[in-house]
Symmetry: C2
């Protein structure tokens, strides 16, 4: 995960790679299910063979411990 | 749809808004199904209440008529 600042908001972001669009989309759906379970929602950029997930906490305009937990859970989905 | 240049590649992009994350994700899945049907794949950015779709043709590094057709089909899904 890479820390970065987007529009003044600190975020953590990671790119996950896949063999095709369908596999990327399956991962996107799994991350979306995690987001609903956690009631915490990332930005998910789905492209051919690639999904970029960004976590941050809108309410504080930056990173909260919960973002790091959700990042770890995102990694578990990818494993 | 807004024409823009990303990393030297001309693309068309549109933001679609929704009431929550689940509705945004449903739209993302529908656009993904369109992409597989067309064998042409956009970038889909899914966020809480918002989906940004970008079409371009990788092979020519810019826009092809097919991108405009896929954009119109994306609009039909949103309607």
């Amino acid at each position: 995960w890479q820390r970065m600042t987007v529009n003044g908001t600190e975020q953590i972001k990671r790119v996950f790679t896949f063999k095709n669009f369908a596999q990327a989309m399956t991962f996107t759906q799994q991350v979306a299910e995690l987001a609903e379970q956690e009631n915490h929602h990332p930005a998910i950029l789905t492209e051919w063979g690639k999904v970029t997930v960004s976590w941050w906490t809108h309410e504080i305009g930056g990173l909260h411990q919960n973002d790091l937990i959700c990042a770890a859970k995102t990694d578990q989905i990818a494993d």
